[in-house]
Protein backbone atom coordinates (compact mmCIF):
# COMPACT_ATOMS: atom_id res chain seq x y z
CA UNK A 1 0.00 0.00 0.00
CA UNK A 2 1.19 3.53 -0.78
CA UNK A 3 2.52 5.18 2.36
CA UNK A 4 0.40 8.29 2.25
CA UNK A 5 -2.71 6.19 1.59
CA UNK A 6 -1.81 4.06 4.58
CA UNK A 7 -1.46 7.19 6.72
CA UNK A 8 -4.74 8.50 5.33
CA UNK A 9 -6.51 5.26 6.18
CA UNK A 10 -5.04 5.21 9.65
CA UNK A 11 -5.92 8.83 10.29
CA UNK A 12 -9.53 8.40 9.20
CA UNK A 13 -9.86 4.84 10.48
CA UNK A 14 -10.82 3.67 7.02
CA UNK A 15 -11.49 -0.01 6.64
CA UNK A 16 -8.81 -2.18 5.10
CA UNK A 17 -9.23 -3.72 1.69
CA UNK A 18 -11.71 -6.57 1.37
CA UNK A 19 -13.20 -8.24 -1.69
CA UNK A 20 -15.14 -5.82 -3.88
CA UNK A 21 -18.71 -6.69 -4.70
CA UNK A 22 -18.32 -5.57 -8.31
CA UNK A 23 -15.46 -8.06 -8.73
CA UNK A 24 -17.28 -10.99 -7.13
CA UNK A 25 -18.28 -13.46 -9.82
CA UNK A 26 -21.71 -15.10 -9.88
CA UNK A 27 -23.75 -18.02 -11.15
CA UNK A 28 -27.49 -18.79 -10.81
CA UNK A 29 -26.63 -21.82 -8.64
CA UNK A 30 -24.23 -19.97 -6.31
CA UNK A 31 -25.13 -17.93 -3.20
CA UNK A 32 -24.29 -14.25 -3.56
CA UNK A 33 -22.62 -12.32 -0.74
CA UNK A 34 -25.29 -11.17 1.69
CA UNK A 35 -25.59 -9.80 5.25
CA UNK A 36 -24.13 -13.00 6.74
CA UNK A 37 -21.07 -12.82 4.45
CA UNK A 38 -20.56 -9.13 5.26
CA UNK A 39 -20.88 -9.81 8.98
CA UNK A 40 -18.19 -12.52 8.83
CA UNK A 41 -15.81 -10.27 6.90
CA UNK A 42 -16.52 -7.43 9.36
CA UNK A 43 -15.61 -9.83 12.17
CA UNK A 44 -12.31 -10.67 10.45
CA UNK A 45 -11.62 -6.94 10.02
CA UNK A 46 -12.46 -6.29 13.67
CA UNK A 47 -10.03 -9.04 14.64
CA UNK A 48 -7.40 -8.04 12.09
CA UNK A 49 -4.74 -6.97 14.60
CA UNK A 50 -5.01 -10.32 16.37
CA UNK A 51 -4.91 -12.17 13.05
CA UNK A 52 -1.71 -10.37 12.03
CA UNK A 53 -0.09 -11.25 15.37
CA UNK A 54 -1.34 -14.82 15.03
CA UNK A 55 0.77 -15.27 11.84
CA UNK A 56 -1.23 -18.23 10.51
CA UNK A 57 0.48 -20.45 7.97
CA UNK A 58 -2.58 -22.42 6.82
CA UNK A 59 -6.01 -20.78 6.44
CA UNK A 60 -9.09 -22.61 5.29
CA UNK A 61 -12.69 -21.90 4.37
CA UNK A 62 -15.36 -24.58 4.33
CA UNK A 63 -18.19 -23.71 1.95
CA UNK A 64 -16.64 -20.85 -0.03
CA UNK A 65 -19.69 -20.06 -2.23
CA UNK A 66 -18.98 -16.92 -4.29
CA UNK A 67 -15.48 -16.59 -2.83
CA UNK A 68 -16.23 -13.26 -1.17
CA UNK A 69 -15.00 -14.38 2.26
CA UNK A 70 -11.81 -16.29 1.34
CA UNK A 71 -10.82 -13.46 -1.04
CA UNK A 72 -11.39 -10.93 1.73
CA UNK A 73 -9.32 -13.02 4.15
CA UNK A 74 -6.42 -13.13 1.67
CA UNK A 75 -6.66 -9.35 1.23
CA UNK A 76 -7.01 -8.64 4.95
CA UNK A 77 -3.89 -10.63 5.86
CA UNK A 78 -2.27 -9.37 2.65
CA UNK A 79 1.42 -8.70 2.51
CA UNK A 80 1.69 -8.44 6.28
CA UNK A 81 1.35 -12.19 6.66
CA UNK A 82 3.22 -13.42 3.60
CA UNK A 83 3.38 -17.00 2.36
CA UNK A 84 0.08 -18.20 3.81
CA UNK A 85 -1.43 -21.33 2.27
CA UNK A 86 -5.11 -20.67 1.64
CA UNK A 87 -7.45 -23.53 0.80
CA UNK A 88 -11.22 -23.48 0.34
CA UNK A 89 -13.81 -26.17 -0.29
CA UNK A 90 -17.41 -26.27 -1.46
CA UNK A 91 -19.75 -29.14 -2.23
CA UNK A 92 -21.19 -27.18 -5.17
CA UNK A 93 -18.97 -27.49 -8.29
CA UNK A 94 -20.32 -24.16 -9.61
CA UNK A 95 -19.27 -22.45 -6.36
CA UNK A 96 -15.60 -23.45 -6.55
CA UNK A 97 -15.48 -22.18 -10.16
CA UNK A 98 -17.09 -18.88 -9.16
CA UNK A 99 -14.65 -18.59 -6.23
CA UNK A 100 -11.76 -19.11 -8.65
CA UNK A 101 -13.07 -16.26 -10.82
CA UNK A 102 -13.50 -14.00 -7.79
CA UNK A 103 -9.93 -14.71 -6.62
CA UNK A 104 -8.58 -14.09 -10.13
CA UNK A 105 -10.48 -10.79 -10.40
CA UNK A 106 -8.73 -9.63 -7.21
CA UNK A 107 -5.34 -10.96 -8.33
CA UNK A 108 -4.95 -13.31 -5.34
CA UNK A 109 -4.34 -17.05 -5.00
CA UNK A 110 -6.06 -19.75 -2.99
CA UNK A 111 -6.36 -23.48 -3.56
CA UNK A 112 -9.83 -24.83 -4.27
CA UNK A 113 -11.25 -28.31 -3.99
CA UNK A 114 -14.79 -29.48 -4.61
CA UNK A 115 -15.78 -31.82 -1.78
CA UNK A 116 -18.31 -32.38 0.98
CA UNK A 117 -17.11 -30.26 3.95
CA UNK A 118 -13.46 -31.44 4.11
CA UNK A 119 -13.84 -35.15 3.42
CA UNK A 120 -10.69 -35.63 1.31
CA UNK A 121 -8.58 -33.36 3.55
CA UNK A 122 -9.45 -34.66 7.01
CA UNK A 123 -6.71 -37.25 7.12
CA UNK A 124 -3.70 -35.21 6.00
CA UNK A 125 -4.73 -31.71 7.03
CA UNK A 126 -5.65 -32.78 10.58
CA UNK A 127 -4.14 -30.51 13.24
CA UNK A 128 -2.64 -28.13 10.68
CA UNK A 129 -5.18 -25.33 10.12
CA UNK A 130 -4.43 -22.10 12.00
CA UNK A 131 -7.45 -20.10 10.86
CA UNK A 132 -10.75 -21.51 9.64
CA UNK A 133 -13.74 -19.51 8.44
CA UNK A 134 -17.19 -21.01 7.96
CA UNK A 135 -20.46 -19.45 6.83
CA UNK A 136 -22.53 -22.62 7.04
CA UNK A 137 -26.02 -23.33 5.71
CA UNK A 138 -27.80 -22.23 8.89
CA UNK A 139 -31.40 -21.64 7.84
CA UNK A 140 -33.90 -23.96 9.53
CA UNK A 141 -35.54 -26.01 6.75
CA UNK A 142 -37.21 -29.39 6.31
CA UNK A 143 -34.50 -32.07 6.57
CA UNK A 144 -34.92 -33.26 2.94
CA UNK A 145 -33.85 -29.85 1.62
CA UNK A 146 -30.35 -30.31 3.05
CA UNK A 147 -29.32 -32.90 0.46
CA UNK A 148 -31.18 -31.39 -2.48
CA UNK A 149 -28.00 -29.99 -4.06
CA UNK A 150 -27.48 -26.81 -6.07
CA UNK A 151 -27.88 -23.43 -4.43
CA UNK A 152 -29.97 -24.90 -1.57
CA UNK A 153 -26.74 -26.36 -0.11
CA UNK A 154 -25.76 -22.74 0.64
CA UNK A 155 -28.58 -22.22 3.12
CA UNK A 156 -30.59 -25.38 3.88
CA UNK A 157 -29.69 -26.30 7.46
CA UNK A 158 -32.37 -28.83 8.42
CA UNK A 159 -33.84 -28.88 11.92
CA UNK A 160 -32.95 -25.67 13.81
CA UNK A 161 -30.48 -25.05 10.98
CA UNK A 162 -28.08 -27.40 12.74
CA UNK A 163 -27.79 -30.41 10.40
CA UNK A 164 -24.70 -29.24 8.54
CA UNK A 165 -23.25 -27.18 11.41
CA UNK A 166 -23.22 -30.29 13.59
CA UNK A 167 -21.32 -32.15 10.87
CA UNK A 168 -18.83 -29.31 10.42
CA UNK A 169 -17.91 -28.82 14.10
CA UNK A 170 -16.14 -32.19 14.63
CA UNK A 171 -14.31 -31.71 11.31
CA UNK A 172 -13.20 -28.22 12.34
CA UNK A 173 -12.01 -29.55 15.66
CA UNK A 174 -10.03 -32.26 13.87
CA UNK A 175 -8.43 -29.91 11.34
CA UNK A 176 -7.54 -27.00 13.63
CA UNK A 177 -3.99 -26.82 14.93
CA UNK A 178 -3.52 -26.47 18.67
CA UNK A 179 -3.31 -22.71 18.16
CA UNK A 180 -6.10 -22.75 15.56
CA UNK A 181 -8.99 -20.28 15.44
CA UNK A 182 -12.44 -20.86 13.99
CA UNK A 183 -14.76 -18.04 12.92
CA UNK A 184 -18.32 -19.19 12.26
CA UNK A 185 -21.63 -17.54 11.41
CA UNK A 186 -24.67 -18.64 13.40
CA UNK A 187 -28.28 -17.65 13.60
CA UNK A 188 -30.05 -17.25 16.95
CA UNK A 189 -32.30 -20.17 15.87
CA UNK A 190 -29.17 -22.39 15.75
CA UNK A 191 -28.81 -22.01 19.54
CA UNK A 192 -25.29 -20.53 19.51
CA UNK A 193 -25.00 -20.90 23.29
CA UNK A 194 -25.39 -24.63 22.96
CA UNK A 195 -22.84 -24.68 20.12
CA UNK A 196 -20.39 -22.84 22.40
CA UNK A 197 -21.05 -25.39 25.14
CA UNK A 198 -20.43 -28.29 22.76
CA UNK A 199 -17.14 -26.72 21.71
CA UNK A 200 -16.24 -25.97 25.31
CA UNK A 201 -16.49 -29.66 26.08
CA UNK A 202 -13.85 -30.14 23.37
CA UNK A 203 -11.60 -27.56 25.03
CA UNK A 204 -12.54 -24.48 23.01
CA UNK A 205 -13.22 -21.05 24.42
CA UNK A 206 -15.55 -18.82 22.43
CA UNK A 207 -16.57 -15.23 22.03
CA UNK A 208 -19.21 -13.53 19.92
CA UNK A 209 -17.28 -10.87 18.04
CA UNK A 210 -20.08 -9.51 15.89
CA UNK A 211 -23.80 -9.57 16.60
CA UNK A 212 -26.17 -8.19 14.04
CA UNK A 213 -29.91 -8.06 13.61
CA UNK A 214 -31.84 -7.52 10.43
CA UNK A 215 -35.59 -7.66 9.93
CA UNK A 216 -35.37 -11.31 8.93
CA UNK A 217 -32.70 -12.73 11.16
CA UNK A 218 -30.33 -12.23 14.05
CA UNK A 219 -26.75 -13.26 13.29
CA UNK A 220 -23.70 -13.88 15.42
CA UNK A 221 -20.10 -14.37 14.36
CA UNK A 222 -18.44 -16.59 16.94
CA UNK A 223 -14.71 -17.04 17.32
CA UNK A 224 -13.49 -20.30 18.87
CA UNK A 225 -9.98 -20.99 20.07
CA UNK A 226 -8.32 -23.81 21.96
CA UNK A 227 -7.93 -23.01 25.63
CA UNK A 228 -5.72 -25.22 27.77
CA UNK A 229 -7.40 -23.91 30.97
CA UNK A 230 -10.76 -25.18 29.73
CA UNK A 231 -9.22 -28.52 28.85
CA UNK A 232 -7.79 -28.79 32.36
CA UNK A 233 -11.12 -27.73 33.82
CA UNK A 234 -12.99 -30.33 31.72
CA UNK A 235 -10.75 -33.04 33.07
CA UNK A 236 -11.04 -31.80 36.63
CA UNK A 237 -14.79 -31.10 36.71
CA UNK A 238 -16.75 -33.98 38.08
CA UNK A 239 -20.09 -32.29 37.50
CA UNK A 240 -20.31 -31.11 33.90
CA UNK A 241 -23.76 -29.64 34.52
CA UNK A 242 -22.42 -27.22 37.09
CA UNK A 243 -19.60 -26.14 34.78
CA UNK A 244 -22.10 -25.64 31.96
CA UNK A 245 -24.33 -23.45 34.09
CA UNK A 246 -21.47 -21.18 35.13
CA UNK A 247 -20.24 -21.01 31.56
CA UNK A 248 -23.59 -19.83 30.17
CA UNK A 249 -23.54 -17.08 32.75
CA UNK A 250 -20.08 -15.94 31.71
CA UNK A 251 -20.97 -16.12 28.02
CA UNK A 252 -24.05 -13.95 28.40
CA UNK A 253 -22.05 -11.33 30.26
CA UNK A 254 -19.54 -11.17 27.40
CA UNK A 255 -22.02 -10.49 24.58
CA UNK A 256 -20.68 -7.32 23.04
CA UNK A 257 -23.51 -5.15 21.81
CA UNK A 258 -22.55 -3.99 18.38
CA UNK A 259 -25.08 -1.84 16.57
CA UNK A 260 -26.24 -2.95 13.17
CA UNK A 261 -24.67 -1.35 10.15
CA UNK A 262 -22.13 -2.12 7.46
CA UNK A 263 -20.36 1.19 8.04
CA UNK A 264 -18.57 0.14 11.23
Amino acid sequence: MHRSLHAFRSAYKMPYRTAQIRLVSSHPEVYEPCDDSFALVDALLADRTNLLEHQPSICMEIGCGSGYIITSLVLILGQEVPGVYYIATDINPHAVKVTQETLNAHGVLAELVCMDIASGLEKRLAGKVDVMVVNPPYVPTPEDEVSRGGIATAWAGGENGRSVIDRILPVAERLLSDRGWLYMVTLTANDPKEICLLMRKKGYASRIIVQRSTEEESLQIIKFWCDSDIQDLNEATSSPRKAAASFVGSLVSQFPRIPFGKSQ
Binding site: I58, C114, D116, L121
Partner: protein, 122 residues
Protein backbone atom coordinates in the same frame (compact mmCIF):
# COMPACT_ATOMS: atom_id res chain seq x y z
CA UNK B 1 -3.92 -27.54 -7.89
CA UNK B 2 -0.54 -27.13 -6.28
CA UNK B 3 1.42 -30.13 -5.06
CA UNK B 4 0.99 -28.92 -1.48
CA UNK B 5 -2.73 -29.49 -1.94
CA UNK B 6 -2.06 -32.88 -3.53
CA UNK B 7 0.02 -33.70 -0.45
CA UNK B 8 -3.00 -32.98 1.78
CA UNK B 9 -5.61 -34.90 -0.24
CA UNK B 10 -6.62 -38.51 0.19
CA UNK B 11 -9.37 -40.77 -1.09
CA UNK B 12 -12.23 -41.19 1.37
CA UNK B 13 -14.13 -43.86 -0.60
CA UNK B 14 -15.92 -46.37 1.62
CA UNK B 15 -13.68 -49.34 2.39
CA UNK B 16 -10.44 -47.60 1.40
CA UNK B 17 -7.99 -47.87 4.30
CA UNK B 18 -5.20 -45.50 3.32
CA UNK B 19 -6.12 -43.62 0.14
CA UNK B 20 -2.87 -41.64 0.10
CA UNK B 21 -1.11 -40.48 -1.95
CA UNK B 22 -3.41 -40.07 -4.92
CA UNK B 23 -1.70 -40.92 -8.21
CA UNK B 24 -1.55 -37.98 -10.61
CA UNK B 25 -2.58 -38.23 -14.26
CA UNK B 26 -1.24 -35.25 -16.12
CA UNK B 27 -2.91 -33.59 -19.07
CA UNK B 28 -1.63 -30.08 -18.51
CA UNK B 29 0.79 -28.57 -16.02
CA UNK B 30 1.24 -24.83 -15.63
CA UNK B 31 3.75 -22.86 -13.59
CA UNK B 32 2.87 -19.75 -11.59
CA UNK B 33 5.77 -17.95 -9.98
CA UNK B 34 5.26 -16.92 -6.38
CA UNK B 35 7.67 -15.27 -3.99
CA UNK B 36 9.80 -17.70 -2.00
CA UNK B 37 9.16 -17.49 1.71
CA UNK B 38 11.81 -19.40 3.72
CA UNK B 39 9.83 -19.19 6.99
CA UNK B 40 6.75 -20.71 5.40
CA UNK B 41 8.81 -23.51 3.84
CA UNK B 42 10.52 -24.30 7.15
CA UNK B 43 7.16 -24.28 8.88
CA UNK B 44 5.44 -26.50 6.33
CA UNK B 45 8.33 -28.95 5.80
CA UNK B 46 7.52 -31.24 8.76
CA UNK B 47 3.88 -31.37 7.60
CA UNK B 48 4.74 -32.55 4.09
CA UNK B 49 4.93 -36.22 3.16
CA UNK B 50 8.26 -36.07 1.36
CA UNK B 51 8.00 -39.27 -0.65
CA UNK B 52 4.60 -38.25 -1.99
CA UNK B 53 5.97 -34.83 -3.00
CA UNK B 54 9.01 -36.31 -4.78
CA UNK B 55 6.82 -38.73 -6.71
CA UNK B 56 4.23 -36.07 -7.56
CA UNK B 57 6.95 -33.67 -8.71
CA UNK B 58 8.43 -36.33 -10.97
CA UNK B 59 5.00 -37.05 -12.48
CA UNK B 60 4.63 -33.34 -13.19
CA UNK B 61 8.02 -33.28 -14.96
CA UNK B 62 10.16 -31.94 -12.11
CA UNK B 63 12.68 -34.57 -11.02
CA UNK B 64 15.14 -32.42 -9.06
CA UNK B 65 14.01 -33.15 -5.51
CA UNK B 66 16.26 -35.52 -3.53
CA UNK B 67 14.74 -38.87 -2.53
CA UNK B 68 15.33 -38.11 1.14
CA UNK B 69 15.22 -34.79 2.94
CA UNK B 70 15.78 -33.61 6.49
CA UNK B 71 15.51 -30.36 8.42
CA UNK B 72 19.21 -29.56 7.98
CA UNK B 73 18.72 -29.27 4.23
CA UNK B 74 16.44 -26.27 4.77
CA UNK B 75 19.60 -24.19 5.33
CA UNK B 76 20.55 -24.67 1.70
CA UNK B 77 19.07 -22.02 -0.58
CA UNK B 78 19.38 -24.38 -3.54
CA UNK B 79 17.27 -26.98 -1.74
CA UNK B 80 14.74 -24.33 -0.63
CA UNK B 81 14.20 -23.08 -4.16
CA UNK B 82 13.58 -26.61 -5.47
CA UNK B 83 11.25 -27.40 -2.59
CA UNK B 84 9.43 -24.09 -3.16
CA UNK B 85 9.07 -24.73 -6.88
CA UNK B 86 7.71 -28.27 -6.46
CA UNK B 87 5.39 -27.44 -3.59
CA UNK B 88 3.94 -24.08 -4.67
CA UNK B 89 4.70 -23.21 -8.29
CA UNK B 90 3.71 -26.32 -10.22
CA UNK B 91 -0.02 -26.53 -10.83
CA UNK B 92 -1.95 -29.45 -12.24
CA UNK B 93 -4.32 -27.53 -14.49
CA UNK B 94 -5.98 -30.48 -16.25
CA UNK B 95 -5.81 -34.16 -15.41
CA UNK B 96 -6.98 -36.50 -12.69
CA UNK B 97 -6.19 -37.81 -9.23
CA UNK B 98 -6.45 -41.56 -8.90
CA UNK B 99 -7.30 -43.45 -5.71
CA UNK B 100 -4.34 -45.78 -5.03
CA UNK B 101 -6.61 -48.59 -3.80
CA UNK B 102 -9.67 -48.52 -6.05
CA UNK B 103 -8.39 -46.79 -9.18
CA UNK B 104 -11.33 -44.35 -9.03
CA UNK B 105 -10.46 -41.16 -10.87
CA UNK B 106 -11.17 -37.72 -9.48
CA UNK B 107 -11.07 -35.20 -12.34
CA UNK B 108 -9.06 -31.97 -12.14
CA UNK B 109 -10.45 -29.24 -14.39
CA UNK B 110 -9.16 -25.68 -14.56
CA UNK B 111 -6.92 -26.49 -11.62
CA UNK B 112 -9.76 -27.61 -9.33
CA UNK B 113 -9.98 -31.25 -8.17
CA UNK B 114 -13.48 -32.65 -7.87
CA UNK B 115 -13.37 -35.03 -4.89
CA UNK B 116 -17.15 -35.47 -4.63
CA UNK B 117 -18.12 -39.07 -3.98
CA UNK B 118 -21.08 -40.93 -5.45
CA UNK B 119 -23.75 -42.09 -3.03
CA UNK B 120 -22.53 -45.71 -3.06
CA UNK B 121 -18.97 -44.58 -2.24
CA UNK B 122 -19.81 -42.82 1.03
Amino acid sequence: MRLLTHNMLSSKIKGVSNGFPLRIEVEKVIEKQVELNPDFLKNIFPKVDWKALVEAGRTMGFAELPEEADLLMLDSSEFLSKFHHALLELHLEEGALVCPETGRKFPVNKGIPNMLLHEDEV
